[in-house]
Amino acid sequence: MNITLVIIFGFLAFVLFLGILARRGKDMDLEQWTVGGRGFGSILVMILLAGEIYSTSTFLGNSGWAYGIGGPALYGLAFAALGYLFSYWVYPAVWRYGTKHRLVSQADFYVKKYNSPILGVIVSIVGVLALIPFLVLQLKGLGIIVSTTSYGAISPTIAVWIGAIAVTVYVMISGIHGSVWTAVLKDIMIAGVALFLGIYIPIHYFGGLQPMFEAVDAVKPNFLTLPSQGMGASWFISTVILTTLGFYMWPQTFGSAYAAKNAKTLRKNAFILPLYGALSIGVLFVGYTAIVQVPGLQGPEMDLALLKLSMKTFDPWFVGVIGAAGLLTALVPGSMILMSSATLLAKNVYKHFVPSTTDQQIISIAKILVPVLALIAVYFTLTGGNTIVALLLMGYSMVTQLAPSFFASLMKNKFVTKQGAIAGIIAGLAIVGYTTLTKATIGTLFPAFPQVIKDLNVGLIAVLINIIVMIGVSLVTKAASAHGEEEIEAA
């Protein structure tokens, strides 16, 4: 075992210890376990929300995309800006409704708004489906960190298993309180590492920022702009819109919003978090430097760019610190995801079919589901060959299908019916499922369309179809209910 791994595993042990400490002295009822008793102030909520957003996808994924894809990777900055901008209104709306009705999960929100338990079941299933690629990418990140920094001693497969076991154990012992305190540690470390690397690496190799960018431009001309086709302007814009809509739709985001003490806390976060997000450009600088310094990483290997460059640049002990920061950026969101998915399935799917289930039983079932979900994620991690950002965008395409009925439910004029909401979600998800499985794009489906349309992110097309179906079915069911109430009762 080398010094790098000793440091990484040392951090892992410390984090598990923090999780155990956080649990002590707290009665873990369902509300405690999931929304932390609704008493979190600005800082804690900020950390929770940031913890979810700044995950492995930032650390390894964004540097990898900066390395392999170039200019289009900047969608992340635009989306962070717009996501937080609208969170000023969206999160307080979620919080207000959630607190008023003592909601615990995202599905509860839809059940209450549309007065439809079956919609809650569907929302839960969509949420879990979307979380799986998100969980897979965290495990993938953990695997990459452990196996790369072991200098080959630990195989990627074993590294993924170690990561999955660590996340599972961590969630089972601590629930949300553990996440908060590890998140504190993680956010300090990731911000420090990103800032340091972003300043040090370009200076170390090129003497400054502009020489670094010029060196990249010399190797790959115009790589840091959008290409005229493929991931061009229409891809960029449609992806930013898609991810901004999906930003609020993650099940764990609802949990974090409910955990806030008041709405002002959430509004304050809307201008604090983008500044924290701005630190992530350090990670992009690392990816750009790697283009020149560690060329030749192909396909999914691009996710290794940051670590490979770190290993080339620093002593093994410091690679250990970077690896530990990376480990935490996967562990914290990974644990949130596992907990959210397990709670969703237990409370909003299982309980729907077995209404006599008590809160205590829901916790027990959720705890059984945690390792089951982790195993499913391990399976997909070991069999899939996608890059981290591709997995992230896949999750976004799915979870964004919940956005149309969510935003419709916030409107004063409630014209969308529960049937409309359900039909829209299913239609959108069907398109996402079809295009994911067949790897279809608008270009392959409609080769005759102009390039601008062909390059649109297919997830956004699914959202548009979702909206059309939602409105169409709502109009029909509204008309039917005007005819006679009994028809609706039957449906």
């Binding site: 800006a81 717009l82 431009d217």
Partner: protein, 67 residues
Amino acid sequence: MKPIYFLALIPVIALLGGPFWANSMTPYILGMPLFFFWNFSWLILTSLVVFLIYKLDPINKEEGSEE
């Protein structure tokens, strides 16, 4: 809809329009290529816009610790 909320349109237009008028390596600003600088600076400026909205929005003064 409070008029101050329309400030939110500025970052939306700036960021979604970026690919049309800022998609270039040159000029370099503060050492960064134009397209990079555009997206990065609008992330910071968006935070500033939200801060303005937050300060000017009466809802954040009316509410005590209750909301």
